[in-house]
């Protein structure tokens, strides 16, 4: 403990840095972005031209029907005076149509180009990158983050990151461009009218921004309340037996009713705000419109403004302009979300891979399995040692059992051997070579692993056994299954080795799962076997199924096994008793029983009382 102030490190994920990184990421796709943007510019121009043409159409009609003043054709492109008015109208109509058709076609290409960029390039690339990185991260990361949050980094967060490219960056450019075009057009029609009509725009912008700031915390709160309600509901379904067993239906219902009502009340708060906001933003453009109609109307009557190409075009432009302005709030929302997502994605990409093979790594072709721990200490967090001065040597083919209370460091000790973590002090040697000098992949392939509750993938039995060696032949798979005493039950399954396991497939018993896990480890023909309490989740009556598989699997291999049950402990050549991260006792079963220490006390409970033993012995005698 020191009292010196910790140096204030710059936050690697402050908004400025995040934006710079996101911009750098977007820069990689500049060519595609530019293509998409150029489509958009043409589309905008065509849209504006369409508006102008319809206005022109009205002016032409007015010119001839009301004997008004001649319509103002753009760029002096007036058709020959010999043309009949209907021909002029027809021409304009066809032009509108032609432009609309061009827009439709361009729109298709625009959407496709954008989607290709976003979905097929950015998202695929990022997802692959994050996934590859995830698979190489230390278990620390997986212990520190809920699996849902990790999955979301590859799915939702990646989408938020790419939304920066299309939803923020490109949208902003498009918005600036379109506002500029609309504004330019409006100004070219009438400067003062433009200014007066756009007076409400800043108001609209401010209201939209304020509103999203005003309502966002309410939505966040609502999400939390809904989550709480659903969690409570899920639990009361999972715990229905407890609820019924204690006759607590009323209390449980009251809890749910409260959560349910809280959601409703929170929603009402949101609705209240929402139904103020929506009429307001709908009203503002109408206010602009009234300004336009009155002032613009006056200008028309004063012959300062054309009716069709002036006033009507203005009406169209104004509504487009307002729509763009109110989408600013969307862009800022997306920007905020993509910053949050980017932080979570970059966190993964930036996390260093803890364990890596050294340059010029040793790649042993075969190892005999002599394992030595020399003064090994380990901690996950400084100041909180998990293992201290672990020192032992195992000869090839020996079986070491590790015993200790929860948190005594058993599993950690095991995970140091395949280098899931590196010791903080001391070294581990296999066949006399420091494992840090070995190629990690080679080392791990020489080690067979069976975990406490073995994870099987939702795939065929065969694929699960061949997990570490996907090219394995059916013969190899069956051989491994036989060693693990699993062949018999596998062939008894509906589709034998092709039976699919997992949530949507067949559910196996705990004992069967563990035997598959043993087969999976055996298939690699490892020199070292690590079994982390493989019978922990198995009831005592079926334990013997696994014990038999274990016996066959560890034959001739250096084995480390974490165990509580005497049945397993007694099979070991050496037993290490861990307490608080230190080896407090070591030796064979008989030796330790005689010593009368930790081991004896733990074992005693599992032994039969003398009376039972006597009765069993008597029963054995005819």
């Amino acid at each position: 403990m020191t009292d010196s102030p910790r140096p204030v490190l710059p936050d690697p994920y402050d908004n400025g840095r995040l934006i710079r990184r996101l911009l750098a990421l977007s820069w990689q796709y500049r060519r595609q972005c530019l293509a998409v943007l150029s489509y958009q510019v043409v589309l905008l121009l065509l849209g504006v031209a369409g508006l102008g043409l319809i206005g022109l159409g009205f002016d032409v009609i007015k010119e001839h029907a009301d004997n008004g003043k001649p319509a103002h054709w753009p760029f002096g492109l007036h058709p020959p005076a010999t043309w009949k008015p209907t021909a002029e109208i027809g021409l304009i109509g066809l032009l509108v149509l032609g432009m609309a058709a061009a827009r439709a076609v361009l729109n298709y290409f625009y959407t496709m180009a954008l989607t290709r960029l976003v979905q097929q390039e950015i998202v695929v690339h990022l997802r692959g990158q994050v996934y590859d990185k995830l698979q190489r991260l230390s278990f620390r990361f997986f212990d520190a983050n809920a699996s849902g949050s990790i999955i979301n980094r590859v799915t939702g967060d990646v989408q938020s990151v790419r939304a920066f490219v299309d939803g923020v960056l490109m949208q902003s450019v498009i918005m600036v461009l379109s506002l500029a075009i609309y504004l330019g057009y409006m100004l070219s029609l009438h400067v003062r009218l433009t200014v007066v009509c756009l007076l409400t725009v800043p108001v609209l912008w401010i209201i939209t921004t304020l509103f999203s700031r005003w309502v966002r915390p309410e939505y966040a709160k609502n999400r939390d309340l809904v989550d709480t309600m659903i969690l409570g509901f899920t639990e009361s379904m999972q715990g229905i037996q407890v609820t019924k067993g204690f006759a607590r239906e009323r209390e449980q219902h009251a809890k749910f009713a409260t959560a349910n009502a809280e959601v409703r009340d929170q929603q009402r708060r949101i609705f209240w705000r929402l139904s103020f906001y929506n009429p307001t933003v709908e009203m503002l453009p109408l206010v602009s419109l009234t300004v336009l109609l009155s002032y613009g109307g006056w200008l028309v009557l004063d012959d300062q403004l054309e009716f069709g190409t002036g006033l009507m075009v203005f009406v169209g432009l104004l509504s487009q302009f307002s729509a763009q302005v109110s989408s600013i709030a969307n862009i800022t929302n997306t920007a905020q979300q993509s910053l949050v997502g980017a932080k979570r994605v970059f966190e993964v990409l930036d996390t260093p891979i803890e364990v890596q093979s050294p340059k010029e790594a040793v790649k042993p072709v075969a190892i005999s399995g002599a394992v030595t721990f020399q003064q090994v200490s380990f901690h996950y967090q400084a100041g909180d040692p998990v293992l201290t001065d672990i020192d032992f040597a195992v000869k090839p083919g020996e079986c070491v059992a590790i015993l200790g209370a929860t948190g005594s460091g058993k599993s950690t000790l095991m995970s140091l051997i395949p280098r899931f973590y590196d010791p903080t002090r001391g070294q581990i040697l296999i066949d006399g070579t420091d494992i840090r000098r070995m190629d990690v992949d080679t080392l791990r392939r020489r080690i067979g692993l069976v975990f406490q509750e073995s994870f099987l993938f939702s795939h065929t039995v065969a694929a699960n056994i061949a997990f570490g060696h996907p090219e394995a032949t059916q013969e190899q798979i069956e051989r491994a299954a036989r060693v693990a005493s699993a062949h018999e039950f596998i062939v008894g399954l509906a589709h034998g080795y092709q039976t699919i396991l997992g949530e949507s497939g067949v559910n196996l018993s705990g004992g069967q799962r563990q035997r598959l896990a043993i087969a999976r480890a055996v298939l690699l023909e490892p020199s070292i076997m690590l079994l982390d309490d493989p019978t922990a989740a198995i009831d005592a009556q079926t334990e013997h199924e696994i014990l038999e598989a274990m016996d066959k699997a560890i034959k001739g291999r250096t084995t480390f096994v974490v165990a509580h049950r005497l049945s397993t402990l007694k099979r070991a050549d050496t037993i290490l008793v861990l307490d608080g991260g230190r080896i407090v006792e070591r030796g064979g079963h008989d030796e330790l029983m005689r010593a009368g220490g930790h081991y004896f006390r733990a074992a005693e409970m599992q032994l039969m009382d003398d009376d039972t033993r006597r009765r069993l012995r008597e029963a054995d005698q005819p």
Binding site: A65, L134, F139, R601, T612
Partner: protein, 610 residues
């Protein structure tokens, strides 16, 4: 064949029974859905008034704008010195007033609809919850949790959308269409025919697009669920992946999966890229037609420019709702499917209920008797056959046997989670069939095999045993189990939050909390399904002593996995294939040298010297 070993990281079989996403509109369902608005009848009726008002206002607003434009044109026609700007100004003023009124109505229309929808959803959730609690355990064993949860989440959400949007917005939109149509017919029915001709085209394009889109979206969802399922397993199986050095293989497989997913996303984009511009083009086509046809008529003197102007505005009002209505129609079909599932759940009759004349069980001493009890979860597949058992108050019964021998069924029957198929169970001479479940459970305690804890503090979890217990009483219960130190060792002691969102708590500590919960209830009958998982030796010793305290003086039924529990039981019941094959005390059974001795040896001698 189902697949080669290398076909991906995971293989997901198509869900056996997919829930349908949409169903046709059905009058009875709609009526029933709307019956949930009955408690809010006033609000609903006011809402309808606003809905009708809105559907009149929207075309009126459009008319007004067209009218103002028309006025400008008409004034413009006059020589400059006769033009009257005042007329236009007062017309614009009228327009503004109408706009304001319309938006005030919008506020109420929107707020009332949203509130009504939320209130209905709230009541639906409550009804679902209440109903679920009346269903016996059979239902929970046969129904997947995910299904039940989606009733109060996604299904309720689509119903909400149905009430909030479909029911009211569609009326407004329809009203707007009708209003606009009426105005157009009134002004020039011939030109309206041109407008009308476009409707089937737009509607067909719209429907076709929605249909294709929903199919394409389903494909996207399916490919995405393959991505997430693979991800989930990759995360949960990370230790296996790294231990077996599969990172590169998995990386390649995952890439092909996301590429596949992006191809489906492209498919959806392509549909939108074709149809949305097509819809827009149709709008433009119509504008051009109106311009050409209407223009020709105006030039021919058959129509006023103002009328043509009005048509432009009104036609937009007329066509605007079509895509919205298409969308709403889709939502309505989805809401139908959701509502149907919810009502199906609400209509599920409990497999059995306490009979109407059931009486409350008076305070009991705890004598339990099973008379020729038979039981089957599924008819024709009996799991218990003619079980007879008499347990005196305070005795402990250990149930022993292989998986599937019927141990759990016996405790489920005694707890009245199920009813026996034949025979009867008596508690202090009362047949369980004729007493209320509630009064039985009030005098019963339960420790389930999975040691279930609710999200909340340790206090909350123990208090489930007796809600009115004070904190001091809860601490006292833990003290009596001699495990105060183990709970106080948690980060915040009894106030430590456990469960899904809480901090980690060891298996041993979980079991102790469940014991304390049962002890606090101080039941006459205790049902205990021992956890199969083993805990470390020190904790195990504590658990065994705590268990002795808990069982003392209560009639207890234990599905036993601990040797010590079996040894101390007053009766050991050995079950095999639903029959009691042996019974007696531990020593007697050992001496008999039968099934029990072999069973016991199997899981006890594994530990002994060979």
């Amino acid at each position: 064949m189902t697949g080669k070993p290398l076909g991906g990281i995971v293989q997901i079989q198509p869900a056996r029974e997919r829930e349908i996403e949409q169903r046709p509109l059905e009058y009875a369902l709609i009526v029933r859905m709307f019956s949930f608005t009955r408690p809010y009848a006033l609000k609903r009726n006011v809402l309808y008034a606003f809905v009708i008002l809105r559907s009149l206002q929207l075309p009126a607003l459009g008319m007004a704008m067209g009218w103002v434009l028309g006025l400008i044109v008409r004034q413009h026609k006059l020589p400059q010195d006769q033009r009257d700007f005042q007329v236009i100004l007062s017309a614009v003023g009228g327009y503004l007033a109408l706009a304001l009124f319309t938006n005030i109505c919008l506020h109420f229309r929107q707020r009332l609809a949203l509130e009504l929808g939320e209130a209905v959803v709230h009541d639906l959730r409550d009804a679902i919850y209440r109903h679920l609690q009346t269903l016996p355990m059979e239902f929970y064993h046969k129904t997947r949790l995910g299904r039940i949860i989606s009733r109060i989440t996604s299904d309720v959400d689509v119903v909400r959308a149905g009430v909030q949007d479909v029911a009211f917005v569609s009326v407004v939109q329809f009203g707007q269409m009708l209003g606009a149509a009426a105005c157009m017919v009134w002004m020039d029915w011939k030109l309206f025919m041109v407008v009308l001709a476009m409707v089937p085209v737009l509607w067909t394009i719209n429907r076709k697009f929605r249909f294709k889109l929903s199919r394409a979206n389903r494909e996207v969802q399916e490919s995405f669920s393959r991505v997430t399922a693979t991800l989930a397993e990759s995360v949960n199986g990370i230790r296996v992946t790294q231990g077996f050095v599969r990172q590169d293989v998995n990386g390649g497989l995952f890439r092909s999966l996301i590429l596949d997913h992006s191809r489906y996303s492209m498919g959806v984009a392509q549909l939108s890229a074709v149809f949305l511009p097509l819809l827009e083009f149709n709008g433009q086509l119509f504008t051009a037609l109106l311009l050409i046809i209407g223009g020709t008529w105006v030039l021919g003197g058959e129509m006023h420019v103002e009328t043509l102007l009005q048509f432009f505005v009104l036609a937009n009002l007329f066509f605007g709702p079509i895509p919205t209505l298409g969308n709403l129609y889709n939502q309505a079909l989805t809401a139908m499917a959701g509502a149907e599932r919810i009502f199906k759940l609400l209509d599920t009759k409990p497999a059995w209920q306490d009979p109407p004349g059931a009486t409350d069980l008076p305070p009991i001493r705890g004598r339990v008797e099973l008379r020729r009890v038979g039981f089957a979860y599924d008819a024709g597949r009996p799991v218990l056959l003619d079980v007879d058992l008499v347990v005196e108050p305070g005795q402990t019964v250990a149930l022993v046997g292989h998986t599937g021998s019927g141990k759990s069924s016996i405790i489920n029957l005694i707890a009245k989670f199920y009813l026996p198929t034949s025979g009867e169970i008596l508690v202090d001479g009362h047949d369980l069939r004729s007493v209320t479940s509630h009064s039985l459970h009030r005098q019963m305690g339960l420790v389930a095999q999975n040691n279930f804890l609710f999200s909340g503090t340790i206090y909350d979890n123990i208090r489930v045993g007796r809600p009115e217990a004070t904190d001091a009483e809860i601490v006292e219960a833990a003290r009596r189990l001699n495990c105060l130190d183990l709970i106080e060792a948690l980060p915040n002691g009894f106030a430590t939050v456990v469960g899904e969102r809480g901090s980690g708590i060891s298996l041993g500590q979980r079991q102790l909390v469940c014991f304390a919960r049962a002890l606090l209830a101080d039941p006459r009958i205790l049902i205990l399904d021992e956890a199969t998982s083993s805990v470390d030796g020190m904790t195990e010793a504590r658990l065994q002593r705590a268990l002795e305290t808990l069982l003392a003086g209560r009639t207890s039924f234990v599905v036993a996995h601990r040797l010590s529990t079996i040894r101390h039981a007053d009766q050991v019941l050995v079950l095999d294939h639903g029959k009691v094959v042996e019974r007696g005390r531990h020593e007697e059974l050992l001496d008999r040298g039968g099934v029990y001795m072999n069973l016991y040896r199997q899981f006890a001698t594994a530990a002994e010297s060979t």
